[in-house]
């Protein structure tokens, strides 16, 4: 063998889906997925899988939870213990899963409507508790699964099927919402930022607490079509031209206006901030001492 490894040759004619480097992280028996061409959700899944490939974590310890909607389907394609729950309740479901088996590393994938609309209350409370969950919110500015209705994230003036004359309903600034409620890690990318997003997933998987990553992703079928923004390539070009990376930016300054600049980067990173279950253990150890019997990290009940 020569000291220098030869570049692997790929027989492109005979490559099988299973040969793809991220295949072990995906339920290949469920491909093709349901997402439209040019949709950004698949990119997010690919980046997460790429991060998992790098991290080489024990797959047993990973669980995926989704709510309802286009992004809600992510749980169904990830090759881990995965839960496709009810609309808006993914965080609440994941809270139970995490608290009953604290050794699990729980990631949520869901959309803007699911997590910040119907699930908004669970979102702010999980952030307040610094519940140990990685929350990936794919923001396509609309309720896509149901046909492109107005969302709590739809930029002002944008047209949606329920705001046919343009939106006048003030949208959320989601990184600011998460940060102000107490999230220990807050970042935003667009689905064009493949390498940066992957690195952020990698980093966030190794952090603890309520980690919030917003990914701006195109919905060319509904949001972009109604707003005459072109199709896949145009949207990527827009992200390319209008994204500005400002790590550590004050989240008050990262709102998104219609077809305006998208501020990206890592805004909050507090690796030492303790989580809900850590606080619970520390507190009970302090106040109850030897009387405290913690739940086993693998859940269930004490087996004696």
């Amino acid at each position: 063998m020569s000291a220098q490894a030869e570049a692997p040759t790929i027989d492109m004619d005979n490559v099988q889906p299973e040969d793809h480097p991220i295949a072990p992280f995906i339920r290949m028996d469920r491909m093709p997925h349901i997402w439209c061409p040019t949709c950004g959700i698949g990119t997010v899944v690919k980046c997460y899988a790429a991060a998992m490939e790098k991290l080489d974590l024990d797959p047993k310890t990973i669980a995926i939870v989704s709510g309802i909607g286009c992004t809600g389907r992510v749980a169904g394609y990830m090759n881990y213990d995965a839960f496709h729950t009810t609309h808006g309740r993914a965080i609440a479901f994941a809270t139970g899963l995490k608290m009953a088996r604290t050794e699990l590393n729980v990631t949520l994938f869901s959309g803007d409507g699911d997590l910040s609309g119907i699930g908004g209350n669970h979102f702010i409370h999980a952030a307040r508790r610094n519940m140990d969950l990685l929350v990936v919110l794919v923001n396509n500015f609309t309720y896509a699964m149901t046909g492109g209705q107005n969302a709590p994230t739809t930029p002002l003036k944008a047209i949606s099927s329920t705001m046919p004359f343009g939106n006048f309903d003030q949208p959320f600034n989601l990184p600011h919402l998460a940060a102000s409620c107490g999230a220990s890690y807050v970042a935003r990318w667009t689905s064009l930022h493949i390498r940066r997003m992957t690195k952020t997933f990698e980093e966030a998987m190794q952090r603890k607490g309520f980690r919030f990553i917003e990914v701006i992703a195109p919905c060319s079928t509904l949001y972009a079509r109604r707003n005459k923004l072109g199709t896949g390539l145009n949207l990527m070009q827009f992200y390319h031209d209008n994204s500005e990376i400002r790590h550590g930016e004050d989240t008050r300054n990262v709102d998104i206006g219609f077809q305006e600049k998208i501020i990206c980067g890592k805004f909050v990173d507090e690796p030492e901030k303790t989580t809900y279950h850590e606080n619970m253990h520390t507190h009970y150890e302090q106040v109850l001492g030897d009387k405290y019997v913690p739940m086993p990290p693998e859940g269930g009940w004490r087996d004696e």
Partner: protein
Amino acid sequence: MKADPLGVLTGAHYLDGDFAAGEGAMAAGCRFVAGYPITPSTEVVERMSRRFPMMGGTFIQMEDEMASMAAVIGAAFTGTKSMTVTSGPGFSLMMENLGLAVMMETPCVLVNVQRGGPSTGLPTMTGQSDMMQARWGSHGDYEIIAMSPKSPQESFDLMIDAFNLSEIYRVPVLFMMDECVGHMTEKVIIPEPDEIDIVPRKLTDKKPGEFWPYEVNNGELVPEFARAGDGYRFHTTGLTHDYRGYPDMTVEGQWKLVTRLMDKINKNVDDIIRFEEEETDGADVVVLSYGITSRVARLAIEKAREKGVKVGVIRLIVVWPFPEKQIREMAKKIKGFVVPEINMGQVVLEVERCAAGNCTTTSVPHPGGGVHDPETIVEAIVGAAK
């Protein structure tokens, strides 16, 4: 399997029904509770949050009842016995994820300490007006188990049964108390841990890779369970799904799944139903009741017997599934059923359906806020005997 001694407060206690239900849950092995405060059920979680840290249990006060029920399902998928506790308005909010629990076949218990409604109604006063909501409250077709204790002692005893049934059939069990029982303090005898039989989660023996979450062996109706975190990498969803837990949006898939979800209760009714029957042989009138009303009815029955009426008693302990076969048979032998309940006539509709015109069915309604005046029940019994 026997109960974990840490969860069992063996001895004689003077406890209210809420506390007794909490003790029953802890004895049954419940180690995860998510809840949101609501009168008159809050004492259950107050009791458990005080005792849980000493037995390896986790209580989390969630932001609302939707979150509570969702968290319970999440926790249940780790193999942890899980429960939530609420009352009327909260019960309404839990209906969404009750459906998810049914669909995902989640063993768990939902306690509803009933109060008067609709809406905020009578927060501190008794009712039994959620019985039909227990049966039909979440959307879609499903079968459910609902039980109704008549005393603090039974709140303890039956809770163990509730957890066990939820494990056997992988179905949420609704524990339908009423404010009167919940806030009533009586003697409760808690047995030794080795006298309490616990049904553990039926974990699969299959290896990861060979296991599908909703695969049922030939002739069986309840799939084996894999815990999240054990390496099975299973998928589950609230969508109609196939044996792999993958969405199956076909009419055939819907037939198959809904039929099995219903069959696992319907075909096991004889093992699930629990009721007390007394002096129904030769009776002219049978009083059917449940919960606190069964005790008040008993007083009325004694008075009616003094008047010479031949009265039998059915006390439902499990209300859903309903003992349809037994009621149908009985209807052919008696003049009439009398059904007092603290609602405007709910379970009576089921009695009437099963009686199928073979005998009369008399509802003795009460809108809630208190229990019946026994005389109104006596009157109905005397009327039904004519």
